[in-house]
């Protein structure tokens, strides 16, 4: 699938937005401004953007505890997200969810998730809705390598297949679940698991936006056309700890530096489009500075915003009661 200039610029902008957002949350967290558990997605941008650039508002995604990137790629408002992470009243979830529960159902973003393996069954449901109401929509579950072992995930593969759902499972394998290596925790391999459930699958370099974009395009087309579920397995690197505050002693010294230097998905994208002469470096530089301003502004706004009003504690438990 060929991307035009506009689409390439948009994809780069989204990846940069994720990167800048996460780098900024990292520094704000270390300064003590952000409460709670925060899991950052930096390093994994090509996956969220490569997949979500095929999706529109008919389509739903379910994310994970490491959800900021998926939210941004699916079109969630960055100011609303930042305010949510700061626990502000004008956050995307009114400050009631925080980093682990950012959601915007109007954008088809069914939520980050505090429960590992919480997403895949929900995505079977979203796919069932799309199929039943004939919306033409598809549903995508992002799961980590760790989540790929949950019963909920494996059961969802089976259900998606036997119901022939327009579902896509994206296994984001960053090598670790907390401190545990995926090479130890995952028995067999991801694409053979897909094959065992009769699903087509793709094994990809998760730093390669173009490969992911291509595969996701096929999977989405198949799902929209009634061809059932697919699995995409991407290998990538998380640039920060499992959560903010993780000392990461289980990793090899220099592991992240090497990945940043040699396999960075943004740099890889830049190189590809400039070498091919499709985009020029200054266009990408401009995007980077615009994104920086945008994120700066989101932090300024969030810091200035008031907390939720006390009565919000009691609202939203039910639609009506």
């Amino acid at each position: 699938m060929q991307l035009n200039r506009e689409e390439l610029l948009q994809s780069y902008r989204t990846m940069c937005t994720i990167r800048e957002f996460e780098e900024r949350v990292h520094s704000e967290f270390s300064e003590g401004g952000i409460p709670g558990f925060v899991h950052l997605y930096a390093g994994e941008e090509a996956s969220a953007v490569g997949v979500c650039s095929h999706l529109d508002d008919r389509d739903n995604i379910a994310s994970t505890h490491r959800g900021h990137g998926h939210c941004i790629a699916k079109g969630c408002d960055v100011n609303g997200m930042m305010a949510e992470i700061f626990g502000r009243g004008d956050g995307l979830c009114g400050g009631k969810g925080g980093s682990m529960h950012i959601a915007d159902l109007s954008k088809g973003m069914m939520g980050a998730n505090g429960i590992v393996g919480g997403g895949p069954p929900l995505i079977c449901g979203a796919a069932l809705t799309a199929k039943t109401l004939k919306t033409g929509g598809v549903a995508v579950a992002f799961v980590g390598d760790g989540a790929s072992n949950q019963g909920t995930t494996l059961e969802s593969y089976n259900l998606a297949k036997v119901w022939n759902l327009p579902a896509i499972f994206v296994v984001e394998d960053n090598g670790y679940a907390e401190s545990t290596a995926s090479v130890w925790a995952v028995a067999g391999d991801q694409s053979k698991r897909a094959a065992a459930f009769g699903m087509p699958s793709y094994e990809l370099d998760g730093n390669d936006f173009f490969a992911i974009h291509q595969a996701a395009g096929e999977a989405v087309e198949r799902a929209r056309g009634g061809g059932g579920p697919s699995l995409i397995h991407v290998k990538l690197t998380r640039y920060f700890g499992h959560f903010e505050g993780d000392a990461m002693t289980y990793r090899q010294a220099g592991e992240i530096e090497v990945a940043r230097r040699e396999r960075d998905p943004l740099r890889f994208f830049r190189q590809r489009v400039t070498e091919a002469g499709v985009l020029e470096a200054h266009q990408l530089d401009e995007i980077e500075s615009e994104v920086k301003r945008l994120i700066d502004q989101s932090v300024v706004l969030s810091k200035a915003a008031p907390p939720p009003t006390p009565e919000r504690l009691l609202t939203d438990v039910y639609v009506s009661y």
Binding site: P35, G36, F37, G87, R88, G89, C93, G95, K96, G97, G98, M100, H101, N113, G114, I115, V116, G117, G146, A147, N149, Q150, G151, T152, Y176, A177, E178, S179, T180, A181, S182, V183, W184, A185, V186, M248, T249, Y250, R251, Q252, A253, E255, P307, P308, P310, R312, L313, L314, V317
Partner: protein, 334 residues
């Protein structure tokens, strides 16, 4: 005796029981950590470091890291318990109960009864609970009433480091399935704890103080809050008995009833949701058995019937506080 944190007390109880009994094993996600990874072994020792140091001493055969498959490994702990081991399995946050509840409440809890008294299932499930960490709705719940509801499970809610050590050793030696609930905000609380192993029996409440006017029953982290409230009330001339039941199943009904018979007033403090919780349960117990002794209606101090919110201001408003407890006491005194 030496000063130990709640975390250290739990770690010491595990280590001492593992030394004493080779059938005691520990399992959970990243309980050692670093499995298959290029860096350090024992890299985590549990998400908040409670099991750190066990793997270097006891090896990977007795400190098992698990994939993120609670249904399978909690179930495996139950099955191992029914066949000769004494597993202590860690369900990292009690909120993850949803993933594995069948293995606990349909399997472990009912074996003995369904099998006509033939099964013994000495499994301990350690799990973190409680609000106060800004961890939002899926990492902050107090689900002990759900376990308490199930016949066949024993449910332990230690309120301090001393309590945690003695109750955990008792839990490991006990022959029934035990759910051992650790309040994540208490891990760094320090007090004098004996160095040698000791047990605290189940179903025997602890009176942390005795007074004449009001009985306050509180659980887990709320015991400390109740004591702080009682300190403040003392200055106003109101003296309280604070009852820490220690275990919600079995529940020391006699001590609670007896205390209310002496004071004539009851305030129950529970960090769990108010409906069908321990506050309601203990209130019903007293209403049924000590109604005539009551000089005022019972008061429950609980969070509202909502999930736990993320924003610090909302979470602080959600959690019962010493001030709210003191207000409830003043109310029953009025």
């Amino acid at each position: 005796m030496s000063k130990k944190s709640y975390r250290q007390a739990i770690n010491e109880a595990l280590a001492q029981e593992m030394r004493r009994d080779p059938t005691v094993i520990v399992m959970g996600e990243d309980n050692a950590g670093g499995m298959g990874a290029p860096g350090d072994d024992d890299a985590w020792g549990g998400v908040l470091g409670v099991t750190k140091g066990l793997m270097p001493e006891f090896g990977r055969d007795r400190v098992l890291d698990t994939p993120i498959t609670e249904s399978a490994f909690i179930g495996a702990a139950v099955g191992a318990a029914a066949t000769g081991l004494r597993p202590v399995a860690e369900l990292m946050f009690v909120d993850f109960l949803g993933v594995c509840f069948d293995q606990i409440f349909n399997q472990a809890a009912k074996f003995r009864y369904m099998f006509g008294g033939k099964a013994v299932t000495p499994v301990v499930i350690r799990t973190m609970y409680g609000a106060g960490f800004r961890a939002a709705s899926q990492h902050s719940q107090c689900l002990y009433p759900i376990f308490t509801h199930i016949p066949g499970l024993k449910v332990v809610v230690p309120s301090s480091a001393y309590e945690a050590k003695g109750l955990l050793i008792q839990s490991i030696r006990d022959n029934d399935p035990v759910i051992f609930l650790e309040h994540k905000v208490l891990y760094d609380e320090i007090e004098e704890v004996p160095d040698e192993p000791y047990t605290i029996p189940f179903g025997e409440a602890n009176l942390t103080r005795e007074g004449d006017h009001v009985t306050i029953v509180a659980l887990g982290r709320m015991v400390g809050f109740a004591n702080r409230a009682a300190d403040a009330l003392q200055k106003e001339g109101i003296t309280c008995t604070v009852v820490d039941p220690r275990t919600t199943s079995p529940l020391d009904e006699d001590t609670i009833i007896e205390s209310v018979e002496n004071t004539g007033r009851l305030v129950v403090v529970d960090e769990a949701s108010p409906r069908c919780g321990m506050a309601a349960d203990i209130s019903a117990l007293v209403a049924q058995n000590a109604f005539k002794a009551l000089k005022a209606p019972i008061r429950m101090v609980t969070p509202p019937h909502t999930p736990v919110p993320f924003a610090p201001q909302l979470e602080d408003a959600y959690i019962p506080t010493p001030e709210k407890i003191a207000d409830a006491v003043r109310h029953v005194m009025a």
